[in-house]
Assembly symmetry: D3
Homo-oligomer: 322 residues x 6
Amino acid sequence: MIKKIERYPAMADRQLQPRYTGIPTFFRLPYAEVLEDIDIGLIGVPFDGGVTHRTGTRHGPREMRNQSSLIRKHNPASGISPFELVRCADLGDAWVEKPYELEGAHQEIGAFFQDVCAAGIMPLSIGGDHSISLPILRAVAKDGPVGMVHIDAHCDTGDDYLGSRFHHGAPFRRAVEEGLLDPKRVIQIGIRGSLNVPDMWDFSYDTGMRVVEIEEFTDKGWAWAAEEARRIVGDGPTYFSFDIDSLDPSQAPGTGTPEMGGITVREAQRLIRALAGVDFVGGDLVEVSPPWDIGGLTTMSGVTILFEMLCVLAQAKDARQA
Amino acid sequence: MIKKIERYPAMADRQLQPRYTGIPTFFRLPYAEVLEDIDIGLIGVPFDGGVTHRTGTRHGPREMRNQSSLIRKHNPASGISPFELVRCADLGDAWVEKPYELEGAHQEIGAFFQDVCAAGIMPLSIGGDHSISLPILRAVAKDGPVGMVHIDAHCDTGDDYLGSRFHHGAPFRRAVEEGLLDPKRVIQIGIRGSLNVPDMWDFSYDTGMRVVEIEEFTDKGWAWAAEEARRIVGDGPTYFSFDIDSLDPSQAPGTGTPEMGGITVREAQRLIRALAGVDFVGGDLVEVSPPWDIGGLTTMSGVTILFEMLCVLAQAKDARQA
Amino acid sequence: MIKKIERYPAMADRQLQPRYTGIPTFFRLPYAEVLEDIDIGLIGVPFDGGVTHRTGTRHGPREMRNQSSLIRKHNPASGISPFELVRCADLGDAWVEKPYELEGAHQEIGAFFQDVCAAGIMPLSIGGDHSISLPILRAVAKDGPVGMVHIDAHCDTGDDYLGSRFHHGAPFRRAVEEGLLDPKRVIQIGIRGSLNVPDMWDFSYDTGMRVVEIEEFTDKGWAWAAEEARRIVGDGPTYFSFDIDSLDPSQAPGTGTPEMGGITVREAQRLIRALAGVDFVGGDLVEVSPPWDIGGLTTMSGVTILFEMLCVLAQAKDARQA
Amino acid sequence: MIKKIERYPAMADRQLQPRYTGIPTFFRLPYAEVLEDIDIGLIGVPFDGGVTHRTGTRHGPREMRNQSSLIRKHNPASGISPFELVRCADLGDAWVEKPYELEGAHQEIGAFFQDVCAAGIMPLSIGGDHSISLPILRAVAKDGPVGMVHIDAHCDTGDDYLGSRFHHGAPFRRAVEEGLLDPKRVIQIGIRGSLNVPDMWDFSYDTGMRVVEIEEFTDKGWAWAAEEARRIVGDGPTYFSFDIDSLDPSQAPGTGTPEMGGITVREAQRLIRALAGVDFVGGDLVEVSPPWDIGGLTTMSGVTILFEMLCVLAQAKDARQA
Amino acid sequence: MIKKIERYPAMADRQLQPRYTGIPTFFRLPYAEVLEDIDIGLIGVPFDGGVTHRTGTRHGPREMRNQSSLIRKHNPASGISPFELVRCADLGDAWVEKPYELEGAHQEIGAFFQDVCAAGIMPLSIGGDHSISLPILRAVAKDGPVGMVHIDAHCDTGDDYLGSRFHHGAPFRRAVEEGLLDPKRVIQIGIRGSLNVPDMWDFSYDTGMRVVEIEEFTDKGWAWAAEEARRIVGDGPTYFSFDIDSLDPSQAPGTGTPEMGGITVREAQRLIRALAGVDFVGGDLVEVSPPWDIGGLTTMSGVTILFEMLCVLAQAKDARQA
Amino acid sequence: MIKKIERYPAMADRQLQPRYTGIPTFFRLPYAEVLEDIDIGLIGVPFDGGVTHRTGTRHGPREMRNQSSLIRKHNPASGISPFELVRCADLGDAWVEKPYELEGAHQEIGAFFQDVCAAGIMPLSIGGDHSISLPILRAVAKDGPVGMVHIDAHCDTGDDYLGSRFHHGAPFRRAVEEGLLDPKRVIQIGIRGSLNVPDMWDFSYDTGMRVVEIEEFTDKGWAWAAEEARRIVGDGPTYFSFDIDSLDPSQAPGTGTPEMGGITVREAQRLIRALAGVDFVGGDLVEVSPPWDIGGLTTMSGVTILFEMLCVLAQAKDARQA
């Protein structure tokens, strides 16, 4: 005789249970192994083979799942209940079978996301280092270049480093070269930090990306930045990449290349909410590195940002389906 | 022959001794077991039986005492020397003998505060979880409903949860129901965070409390918020409840239900100072949870806020006695 | 069209994947909601309403799941591959809906374990504070008193404290009183630490439990202790309760009532292995308190011990089924 | 009307209250400002002006008081209830008014202990760095040289360093030179660690102290070491100095000059208990440095050792008074 | 045959190597033992004999060197490449041979800086506690009083404390008294925190220093503050002293006398950049205390600020040499 | 005029300076860029491209240098002063220019060590993950297979994993296959931990290596183990590889694949000393992973072990040169 444990009527909604209970999926969503009846898929990408300094983001998805039960169901600031608006699921990890080979690993990641996109699912990925945006974009932008809202301390449009073309400081140079990004429809917000050479990010400027350094962001504010972002990306399909190191290390110490003097979570939340209406086709939150975290601050900031991202992605997905 | 250790003439003033010395009371005040000749009593309430997620605030009073020697005697920003203005003492802990029974514990706490208030002492309590505000209000508002300045990430006017009416997300709903708070004279500042259900804090709105979400606070500033608070509470007797989770977790990580994107200490200090003149009749600082703290940041913020609260409470007490 | 993600042939065996990947269940076992085809069920019990000092064990099951991917499939020291020997599953959490009421919570926990035992599943629980052993024993020893191997710093046979009969220092007094334990078949190993009163554990001695203080354990060694345990519990059904505070705090700092000078993991592992052949009918590992842990040491020790317990439980289960 | 808070009948015995409550004194003893009716006085010495590497032991007494509520009233291993055997009190801190002047500070400390000893109180001090043993010995050994049981990683019989004769690596050379210690009645146990020069501790060997290096201790065991200690110190008055760095850093990381490979708490506890009968006239526990501690391990070991020391000191005091 | 390891052509520029490699000097600069061909010398001053509360800044230089490899070569915000503009070197530590004697130690430090200044090198020092600014100023201002930009939570113009005239709360009172500082050309920015006595910093006000409390700084902003600083110090030679406790403890927890509610790194960076053109003749960054740091946040902020200071010092040095 | 800073006569010997001063090299040895007049070279290998779970050992050499100033010049237990016996130097890091390519990185590392060995220098390497032992052995065993004393929790003779033959669980299988190790002259001590498959280390057993599991080590002791090691390796040239995860995680938590229940430092020190007389030709200490460390315990254990290794290597080098 089969006996299912159905002791808890309240448990029908896992997100109402005490937050220290249960097996952690992203936002306590159902874990899906089958790609159907899903609008937005949250996907861990535990890969950090592309870092240049501190490693550890391979542990990011696991700790982000763990911390994500801090977040509840409704966003009162924007009025959005993403899990009601669209069908969300945790699709597990796009882990790679051959992590020692950087380019091969990227191909494995890319293949995973090809399947996800082919199933009509919008991916929201949790990294992993920033090099993973390239294989994800290969899937998301399969049918032509997309625009991008990119919030980060670094432009990540550098060139070869330590013998590799594909490290975490270069994904968006490669994405432009591969025709995945339309640089004219890319805005990079929060850029700061010392540089190895003055022309380190010239690719961004030369190709026409809109680079908003932290100073301009500070002087003009989040509302202006959101407006500028909407102006740059326009109505076309747009990717959303959020590097946790865009935040100040006092709120996100656990990351590979921290730069003091960053965006605050309070600013980031409002900036993201003000992006409602952009036609997002995917997103990632990257560079959360648990071994360097203190007291869970980075994952706490991470899941807060991830939830705001999910809300605007859900709006976009919902709008397209309407 | 009795020999008293009176080796230190400078020790007459404990607050001038090196801060790593001595047995820690709140602000190195005298510990009083007898309720006389005291205007303001600082009271630990090491109870966390009402939390819904992370426990640990039972350890709050002890670590707040420990850290409080960081604070000195004079507040140059407001010009107040609270220990000269009124007679302050550490009254020890209102600990409970039967901590396993939530409602019984609240009754024990309430009885302690009845004695304190009956002795003409204004209580400034250090929690403990926010559920303790209810029994304290039962003592403070014994003769009629009071107003309240409430700084918090959460309205704490929720309803039953996990089978209890008295958890730390509900004290102010119960206080209104019991006639302890006049909701029209309540302002709640700093509210934010995702919600289980959209109407989670409807009790606040429905009963006429003034809810200032973090977005409005950010847009209008601390000076406006203080003015609004003074407008709402008016001239009547007013309670002051400060939940440490109103602050951003980068400044107060050690708390039970952290919400990123909060008030900064710099804002909170000025907001509190600008409340001078409000007729405060008591206050509490709650939800400091040492096991979740990192590097003492939370208690450091805690004692900083507590000192500012003490200054405006001392002003109120002094004004009433003048 | 349904599309299942079956990209990884190697993924057929989740326990061979990199250990930083995936959604954490205990030992990366399948999560089971239906109680069939299972021999041993690993069950989280995130309840800490019975502690007398430091709280936090409600977070134990989650972090134990997280850390348990450090453990692999085969125990070379004992030659046992528990997941091959018997069918194991993670049954999720026996969380309680009304955590504020200690006795009610125990009843909820008890009901969960009644179902598990009724389905013929041997439970191996992960606490939670030690008070949970009582409701578990109510299910396990439903048909008559069992013996017990109890490894702990404390006898946990105390009497009422702080107005309650059911705190985490008393479960085994209550279990004897309720006829769940045969005290003559109980051995308690590792006992130490200062006492509030000299006769604090007299119930153990008076009822004939075999109490092995840390001094006797040190002088005679783990092999002797295992032999003595086998002698005491004999051939009858036996429960296995392991309190993580039996270990030295240098190896298990994250616990509620630490006592320096404890058993080492090296000793505990060998002691447990030497219990092979005892007719175990269930077990628990309790008092892992993540907020007090440092660097994951406690969960690391915890999963190491849990795996050794699982091995001897699997042997017992297998022997009975043979 | 005077109103004393006498709400808690159970509070008559502070040591039975929950351990997270109250204002921390050593072992929750009464704080005494008057030197009468006291047999053993526990005294903080928050001075670290004599360290050669890492500072921080000035914070030792405060954190030791904080942690000491982990310890209860009765020592079941030795059968001693020290607080019943003799009258104990926390005498507060022997802090110094002029901490920037090493020798002057020592004089201040010495004067404090002169008063204590003159009042017939046996001092048990909590440091502070090891340089404080010298001024304490000047008071304790006022009437002639004493013997010493000294448990430490270092002999602390070095010569001048960095221009000073009185740093924490030299107190016992100075004590012998000043006629405070009889080197023939001194045993030093646990000595280890690399040396700046091979003859660094030759003073110990040359004056006839019994030096037990960690290797000899390991090979022969705690029971032998205790026997040897009793043989060396004989029946005469004996001081007990325990440097927390004698313990292994895995159990006591928070100290100024850690040396891996030390004594375990389990060994130290039994060694101390086996010293029962030695005619102790005072003791100190030094070098606990909270800023370098992790998770309270060092203070946890510290209060465990302090309690064992108190037990044998109480026995000695009681024996002399009998 | 001599064989030099010249395997790495890229290693010609150490600052382009991966940041986790190599032996840490400040900013991976060459270590110089000979005082020639150097414009700016970075100098560690590992001395904390002047602190009044928490010790530990003696460990500052070492950890600042360790963390400084986070910083790269070019400052895009100000367009300065300091290592190209002037010749920089790490001059090692100005450690003192007799650390136990405060005034003697200051003389040793002073003598070191006399040599540096005599060699025409502008010193940029990394403390150590703030008392070291006095001996440094004795060298820098040898030929007459200088002005000062002083960013700090405290004025550090206090009087004797604990029997000493030279602790870390008094250096600038002494510097004025010794004719090293022209108080009319001193600005102190970021002042805040409770005071032992209301007139604690009256020396600053009475001698005409411009004191900018945090409230005025907040209200008027960094741009105004920089303008005010330029107005106060004028064209004359100016010293730059940055106390890390001017920053908020959420960004710089590892310091001896933290005061919540401080300057943010984002503000400090822009304030410093706006000081370009001031005729700086030396600088120090003090009060970084690694044992109290968490996750390297303080050294991360420290090296970020140090780099900005270096940029404006390099501009000044370059301008004078032009 | 050249002006050298020669202020400190005592500084002639850097190892006598206060340990918090200076720029950290291994044991404060001179940093050598030229390979002459050196007997033993200490070499950092900051590479962690071969790990299978937790990364971070690339940060090992830097933190080991930092912590190594805890160690002094003379080993009193063995009577050896290694820096007097042979000429030692810090040769810097064998970092790799192309870290993203595992096999290429190994070639770079190998080439570095070829130069070192060709210069007649015995290398003592500080890792880095264990995969680096293979390229080091290619240099050390260039002229024929060597024996090995290998202390570790794992045999590291596994086969391909995650698509690579050269991860940190396989170096010694490859070394045997490449003719670098004579398996009959290899002893592996401390082996423990669960296994993915029962035959995971069969290569060790099948090729005749002497595998001493932790159980045998515990039962027979360090003295026996040293004797067995000497028997196995005999008189021939022998390599010494020490994986920090052989130690118990309570003493070495910062490592990639921790296994509870390990060797203690006290045992390891004596085991190593008892290897005096073995003809060592090189050694490595690997798997120190600072991001996972707590309170510096792992590097503290690490430098303690490294010093013991250096002593026996110096003896061997000295013996060959005699």
